[in-house]
């Protein structure tokens, strides 16, 4: 019987547009774009030139600081363009995809017969090391450092989040292989967290891992919260984090001998007419699933990821590397609501008591719904931050970049996503995730 941990603090934002659990087919696009900014903490160095031919699994670029970290192309085809931004920063690498994908052969391997080093080399060479992230700093894991433990989250509690049970159907073997591979990578343990609602046998009966069951609202599915409750990260320690879908992608490499970055992705949000799940490679253009399938006549916000931590993308944007969710909500910049401070409108949602509460789902847009202020209200963040950390004090220490205080207050244990709900509920409308991200980056520069 797994350990059960009850999470009491948190918030399940009742959003309209949850996805139907129906697989609606496979999405492909002529061009596939990979955006290096997805891989936090990496300075990309190109390994290909325009007009080069690549196979799926060939390296597109690698990390400047850790040249052993390759980044694989999800498709075979021809590199048509490298789009650069300010200071020649690579914004995206565009590949014209073949109609039939040609895979680089990495050989089917039996994980149990491989050594730790061989497992690591296999993942690095295949260019999918980016699936493993690390705490502290919430960046792509540094292969050279031994992780104390590896934490895998087996469910997602974010608003409109996809169901892992559903997405894992047919990938049970890959998941187990992936978990076996991870077990080789640490001298500590692999912790797998599942929800009390998890039904998937692959998750519930996973071998070679320590299973912990969580019950409670978002952010119970955040790996950071789970670590804090299972075995917190201390100064000087490194842990690696993944989600179960990424573990299955790693398992796929060993079971099939090739890099197949196909994800099952949910299309959801209040502005989507027909929600559902699609299979697609990372970097696939999404316009084909948006066209004719979203509300017309108002301005919309397209998000790769969930509404709390996802990235804003254009209508012709692509699926970002870590996402299993694409959300469409109203932008709201064309709305002028009179006297919002006196509003009794049932359309307004607040987690606090200053608005009437209705037992219904809400259609929320991207407006801030207020102006930025200094932190005034207290005990607001605490209510949605189920970690043994004082969020407000940590945010203030981070703003001041007081390294000693940040360390003392637990900066090593957190990732920006852990503060997403704080940012949502914030009366002062501060960009808390950005504050934490900047703080972590500065701290990393300072420490390494």
């Amino acid at each position: 019987m797994a350990n059960l941990i009850n999470i009491k603090k948190g918030l399940q934002i009742p959003l309209l547009g949850a996805s139907e659990e129906v697989l609606r087919g496979k999405v492909t696009s002529e061009f596939v774009r990979i955006c290096p900014e997805d891989f936090h903490g990496i300075t990309p160095k190109l390994a290909v030139k325009v007009d080069d031919r690549v196979k799926a699994g060939n390296t597109l670029f690698y990390s400047k600081d850790h040249p052993e970290i390759f980044f694989a192309s999800p498709v075979s085809g021809v590199v048509t363009e490298v789009v650069r931004g300010e200071k020649r920063r690579i914004l995206n690498i565009v590949i014209k995809a073949d109609s039939e994908i040609e895979y680089e052969d990495f050989g089917i391997k039996n994980v149990s017969s491989l050594s730790s080093e061989e497992v690591k080399q296999s993942i690095l060479e295949a260019g999918i090391w980016f699936l493993i992230k690390q705490r502290p700093y919430d960046v792509v894991a540094v292969p050279g450092k031994q992780p104390r433990d590896i934490f895998v989250t087996g469910f997602d509690t974010a608003p409109l989040a996809p169901s892992y049970d559903f997405m894992l159907e047919g990938q049970e073997a890959d998941l187990q292989t992936g978990l076996d591979a991870l077990a080789k990578l640490t001298s500590g343990k692999v912790y797998l967290s599942i929800s009390t609602k998890t039904k998937s046998k692959a998750l519930r009966d996973a071998k070679n891992v320590v299973i912990t069951e969580f019950n409670g609202p978002h952010p119970a599915g955040n790996v950071g919260v789970q670590i804090n409750h299972i075995k917190p990260v201390n100064r000087g320690e490194v842990v690696w984090t993944l989600n179960a879908m990424d573990v299955a992608l790693i398992g796929r490499l060993f079971n099939r001998g090739r890099v197949d970055l196909t994800r099952t992705v949910t299309l959801c949000g209040s502005e989507v007419k027909q929600t559902g799940y699609y299979k697609m490679l990372i970097g696939t253009e999404l316009s084909s699933i948006f066209n004719g399938n979203v509300t017309e006549g108002i301005s919309l916000r397209y998000i790769s990821g969930n509404p709390l931590t996802g990235r804003k993308i254009a209508k012709d944007g692509v699926l970002r590397a870590y996402d299993s969710q694409v959300t469409v909500i109203p932008e709201g910049d064309d709305v002028h609501e009179a006297f919002g401070w006196a509003s009794l409108s049932p359309k307004r949602y607040s987690s606090g008591g200053t608005y009437l509460k209705f037992n219904k789902k809400y259609r929320l847009d991207a407006r801030l719904l207020g102006g930025p202020r200094a932190i005034i209200v207290s005990n607001e963040y605490d209510k949605v931050f189920p970690m043994d950390i004082f969020p407000e004090q940590l945010i203030k220490a981070t703003l001041a970049f007081n390294i000693d205080k940040m360390e003392q207050l637990g900066i090593y244990e957190v990732a920006p996503e852990d503060f997403a709900l704080c940012e949502f509920v914030d009366t002062s409308k501060l960009e808390i995730q950005r504050i934490i991200r900047t703080g972590l980056d500065l701290l990393r520069n300072e420490m390494e």
Partner: protein, 402 residues
């Protein structure tokens, strides 16, 4: 509303970067966001936001203050007409009180908001809403006969030196409204205490003129017990301004001389309910102030050797500004302790200090103001120790392992 929106859109370019009136941007923004929810959308981080904002929060606090304000207005009229011995209906009494308070409210808002707007303009920031609450609080905690110029001076002093020099709303160490009162209390003590200031005996805008009747005394109940010759509480009776004894109902409804805010415990409890239900005021702070006060009174009762020390807890909580301070002043999130554990300590000590000052310092009939200001100064220290416990625990985790 559409026409208004159109008009705002038309004049907006003047206030934006490069416009002729760009220097008035903060003012324009304040009015625009007052009328319409800004349509600015999130640039980084979360894509959706909770509907509550600073404006909503402050409006709810004002809403919670309204019952006390209304009862207070009525009470001003009631005390006045009783003092001059004229029969008047409820409505007349209320209008009298309204006319007495309205100029004070206007002065406090005009001065305070004027400074807020000017500073926001100067700093090129949005105008913060904090003063909307302070502005209503200031007249509520001053004697009704405070001259308007004093309110203006005190408000200006409090806003500038207690708030803006620290960085504005959210950064102040001391409660702004209490600083305004403390400023007057120490600068013009004769106008702030004694028997003459709590009941308006003169007419207001020509309304309710008359001569004070015989046997009139404008002393507040706490003033009475503070100066009483009686040595045992059982021999002591609180009296109204004409000498008749005050009933518990009078005390609970707040129908005795005092500032508006000190008055009606009933209205304050309604306000407390609003603050607690909406989650804006911390019930922990409120409860712990009452606990701290009650604890101290019970302790004093045991060692009592005069009437004031013998006074049971009930009277302390019903009379004076204790309840008002607990509900509306101690809970000010900016100047209060910000950690949950800290709030218990902070509130308890306020209650303890307020009663101590009341009973042992004959100069200050009202201890709540000083107690809260004193604890404002200590709130960061309380938080420091609460947070430090968390830090120590984290350090222990590392050393235990090593």
């Amino acid at each position: 509303m559409k026409a208004l929106r159109k008009y705002l859109d038309k004049i907006k370019p003047n206030f934006e970067e490069g416009g002729k009136l760009h220097w008035l941007w903060s003012t324009y923004d304040a009015f625009e966001t007052f009328l319409f929810v800004p349509n600015r959308t999130s640039r980084s981080g979360v894509h959706i936001h909770d509907a509550r904002d600073s404006k909503r929060t402050m409006i709810i606090v004002i809403l919670a203050l309204i019952p006390a304000l209304l009862v207070g207005m009525y009470n001003i009229g009631l005390q006045h007409y009783t003092a001059v011995g004229i029969e008047a209906d409820i409505f007349t009494k209320f209008i009298y009180g309204l006319l007495a308070i309205l100029p004070q409210l206007i002065v406090s808002y005009v001065v305070g908001l004027g400074i807020e707007f000017a500073v926001a303009q100067f700093k090129k920031e949005e105008v913060a809403e904090g003063f909307l609450v302070s502005g209503i609080l200031i007249p509520m905690i001053l004697p009704v006969d405070t001259p308007l110029w004093m309110i203006a001076v005190a408000t200006a002093f409090a806003v500038i030196f207690a708030k803006e020099v620290f960085g504005g709303t959210g950064y102040n160490v001391f409660n702004v409204a209490l600083i305004a009162r403390a400023f007057l209390f120490f600068s013009y003590p004769s106008k702030m205490s004694g028997d003459q200031v709590w009941v308006r005996t003169r007419d207001t805008f020509g309304m309710g003129g008359g001569q004070v009747i015989d046997g009139y005394s404008g002393a507040t109940p706490l003033g009475q017990i503070n100066t009483t010759e009686v040595s045992s509480f059982s021999d002591f009776t609180f009296t109204g301004i004409t000498g008749e004894p005050l009933t518990f109902t009078d005390m609970f409804l707040g129908l005795y001389p005092g500032s508006i805010g000190e008055a009606s415990t009933l209205a304050i409890l309604i306000g407390a309910a609003i603050l607690i239900i909406t989650g804006i005021g911390s019930w922990k702070t409120m409860l712990s102030v009452f606990l701290g006060g009650t604890f101290t009174v019970l302790l004093l009762n045991v060692f009592a050797h005069n009437a004031y020390m013998e006074m049971p807890p009930m009277y302390h909580l019903l009379l004076g500004g204790f309840a008002f301070g607990a509900v509306f002043m101690a809970t000010d999130p900016v100047t209060s302790a910000r950690t949950e554990k800290g709030k218990w300590i902070y509130g308890f000590l306020i209650g303890l200090l307020a009663v101590t000052i009341r009973v042992f310092n004959p100069g200050y009939a009202e201890g709540m103001m000083l107690a809260i200001l004193f604890m404002n100064a200590f709130a960061p220290l309380i938080d420091f120790y609460v947070v430090d416990a968390n830090i120590k625990q984290r350090l222990k985790r590392v050393t235990n392992k090593a």
